[in-house]
């Protein structure tokens, strides 16, 4: 069968690093081809080259057998290449149709012919089974629907090659299931799909072929039906990976973190968390799962002091911290791995060593009489880099911005674990990370539990919640609608509670 995309011996250099080193990617027409690799493996660079965002330093690209030079995204569009970005690029107070036609509006005289466009959108939506309302406003539809709008945008532009960049990162299990159906449908209609991901389960489920990259190098291309998940993981990481999280039974003791009748307002000034009560004990991990936007963010921010608490109380070891500012909560034994590591977790323009003392810079040995001791700060960074295997090109002097996502997260983890917090709030610890890093982070979280820490784990990844937690609380509409034992539940039961249709044992 003919290759629709051939990227041959691609080389791309960035200052100090070769992001793509002789990478070859050949995609058959009408197939779903997965591109697998850890963070920093060069997947995004390769796709950016294909999409015209970067020009390669070596190698050639052939589309439908013809050698092409993709100098900018417009060229890519003309070649029928479309990209569904991980972060959607939609105008929120526009309708679905308005978003889709943005940039190539059909005209009737001086007016935009919205009706004609809407009917074309509806037609496409029907053809591919997308079920999108062309006249709905983006702000009123779910994340899964927004993603379909992005897909429609590509189809409207007659894209034949669709690049999906980590498409399932923002979806619920049910939505993922539907997306997989849509992808199959697209291929049936003759489209070609390039799927960037590090989730092996999805590759196994949907892809035909899989190309693996590791540290910028091409490792191999395999037929998915012949390769096991373990085999692909090994290709990606370069060593054997254990999938099951190794953990002994929990030995919960007294309550450390107690949340009583908590109410918190969200940014729309409505109650985002309603009358929520939870107890986390020493030596256990309580997982909070739910569909994005059901009060998780408000809960985390209220516990950590970033958002105002409307009513109710938060106790750490019996001390009421409800009204305390962030710093004093931290001093009372609170630890926090924030869900957004760029916005909250790090000062990206600070060096790694400066980031690692962000809570403690005011204390000895990092400062004396208000003057920073950079030797002590650097030594601290060297110690944590060593202990937590943080990979940073220039060691302690690396700017956080230039580190990979996995290493940024490891740095945050190192900083927080090193503070040895009693009540540890961990939010989305592995979002966007690869299997190697996920394995490591899960191991460290469980080690903290075994050291006798009380851990509240909030995650949108159901697998993560089920693997790591001892007990699971399901949050829906700002309320806890279920509280179950992790060993006595399953994906189905949790999924039903997450959608609000079942309540259990609160």
């Amino acid at each position: 069968m003919a290759y629709i995309i051939e990227m041959l011996n691609i080389v791309k250099d960035f200052p100090g690093i070769r992001a793509n080193d002789d990478v070859t990617l050949q995609v058959e027409k009408g197939s779903i081809h997965a591109l697998l690799g850890e963070n920093g493996a060069g997947k995004s660079t390769l796709m950016s080259i294909l999409f015209g965002l970067y020009t390669p330093d070596g190698g050639s690209i052939r589309i439908r057998g013809e050698t092409v030079r993709i100098t900018d995204p417009n060229v890519a569009n003309e070649l029928g290449i479309g990209m569904v970005h991980q972060h959607f690029k939609l105008v929120h107070n526009f309708t679905v149709t308005e978003n889709i036609i943005l940039g190539l509006e059909p005209r009737k005289g001086l007016m935009i012919d919205v009706r004609k466009a809407a009917s074309k959108v509806a037609e496409l939506s029907k053809l591919y089974g997308l079920d999108v309302d062309p006249n709905a406003k983006i702000e009123d539809i779910s994340v899964g629907m927004q993603q379909r709008v992005e897909i429609l945008k590509m189809l409207y532009r007659d894209a034949e090659i669709l690049i999906f960049d980590e498409p399932t990162a923002v979806l619920t299990p049910q939505e993922i299931h539907e997306l997989i159906g849509i992808m199959r449908r697209l291929v049936e209609e003759g489209k070609t799909i390039l799927l960037i991901t590090h989730k092996l389960k999805e590759i196994k489920e949907v892809a035909d072929t899989c190309t693996v990259l590791r540290r910028g190098k091409f490792i191999g291309t395999v037929a998915v039906k012949d390769a096991s998940e373990a085999r692909m993981a090994e290709m990606m990481v370069g060593r054997e990976v254990s999938f099951s999280v190794d953990k002994g039974p929990a030995a919960p003791r007294e309550v450390v973190l107690e949340i009583q009748n908590l109410c918190v307002r969200n940014n729309k000034n409505l109650l985002g968390v309603k009358n929520l009560s939870l107890q986390v004990r020493r030596g256990e991990i309580l997982g909070v799962c739910g569909i994005d936007g059901n009060g998780q963010t408000e809960l985390i921010q209220a516990l950590t002091g970033l958002a105002k608490i409307e009513s109710g109380s938060v106790l750490i070891n019996g001390h009421n911290v409800t009204q305390l500012p962030v710093r004093q909560r931290l001093d009372r034994g609170l630890g926090h791995i924030p869900e957004d590591r760029h916005r909250h977790g790090l000062i990206l323009d600070f060096r790694l060593d400066e980031n690692l003392v962000i809570h403690n810079y005011g204390k000895a040995p990092y400062s004396r009489y208000g003057v920073l001791d950079f030797t002590a700060i650097r030594k601290n960074a060297e110690r944590l880099i060593e202990e937590f295997d943080v990979r940073a090109g220039k060691g302690p002097a690396t700017f956080a911005r230039s580190m990979s996502g996995g290493n940024q997260q490891k740095a945050i983890l190192a900083r927080e674990i090193d503070r040895s917090p009693e009540a540890f709030i961990i939010a989305q610890p592995t979002r966007g990370l690869d299997v190697g890093a996920i394995e490591y982070i899960h191991k460290r979280i469980i080690a903290e539990r075994d050291k006798g820490k009380a851990i509240l784990l909030v995650s949108l990844e159901l697998d993560e919640i089920m693997d790591v937690s001892d007990r699971i609380a399901v949050i829906y509409g700002g309320e806890i609608v279920g509280l179950v034992d992790a060993s006595k539940t399953n994906e189905n039961e949790l999924g039903l509670m997450m959608s609000g249709s079942v309540r259990k044992a609160v």
């Binding site: 100090g16 004093q328 790090l346 000062i347 920073l372 220039k394």
Partner: protein
Amino acid sequence: MAAKTEKAAKGRKVLIPLVAVALGFLLGSIVVLLTGKNPLLMFNAIIQGLTGINIATGGFNPRHIGELVIQAMPIILTGLCVGFAFRTGLFNIGAEGQLMMGSLAATAVALTVKAPTFVHVPLILVAGMGAGALWGAIPGYLKSRFNVHEVVVTIMLNYTALHFNNWTILNVFTSVDRVKTAEFPTTALLKDPWLADLTNGSRLNWGFVPVILAVIAFWFILEKTTFGYGLRAVGFNKDGAKYAGMKVDRNVVLSMVIAGAFAGLAGAIITTGTFSFGRTLSSAEGYGFDGIAVALVGMTQAPGILLAGLLFGVLKSAGPLMQSAGIPREIGGIIQASIVMFVAMKLGIERILDLAKGKRAAKAALAATADGVGEVGV
């Protein structure tokens, strides 16, 4: 390799303003050529302004150095003022007003307090700093408490300061002369005949000592103290700073207070150093806007601001020298403006540097492969 790129990144940071300065002078030269004059006369005037040496005649006059310092002092301080706020993520357009308030407070202390010089002068400087700090605190407080944008508030406070200054001088410290107060007592002055003699009768005064201390303080506070660490964190990422438990609102106010103090100090130095009386002003004198330019060209770093302040100072002080050489004195302003423009075109300059470097690298790579020692991978 890693150390090399880091060095390169640092070098780049210094290189961009230098390229901008070079391009600014190039553009100035072209304008001089267009007016039908010899650009070398312009450079001669600038070198004379900087060193006191007239290359054309071989003469030396130290007065020019003194005048350069006089021109540079206030804009270095307003540069520090703007730069300090900027490092905390604030755009302080109010250096001018903060400077005027400093100058007014200095006038008040100079005229009302009777003390020996070694008490009187420090008191005046501290009063100037205090008034500037207070004037800076207003937008800082409004920003942190009510989220009012500091640009709007500082612009309005510039006018408020101007008219408050004029009203106070006219109504409280009146003298026969409607545009200025009575002369200050000699105990209040930064002037020193010894310095004037040393520089052949220039207006040079002891003001440069607090200016140097201010540059050091700027660097020390921001780079070395826990307080500065917090300010920089707020400047880069407010949410991150909040998460880390820093008092973001307090830091915003304190940053504006310190920024205002720098500008207030400039006001005090102008009033008791360059002049010896309080003045009414018909309009703003432009120190605040020069400060923005200085901070920008100096990349908001202490040494950069010092150098940029001296550069813009010499462009000002060389104005009369250019004029006597038959070159319009506005050329200095043109050069200053184009330097700022080129610094703002940072990305463009980086692009040019990349291209230049790319060509060199390509040549080097070609030479290397010819020798059979091409670099493979990383």
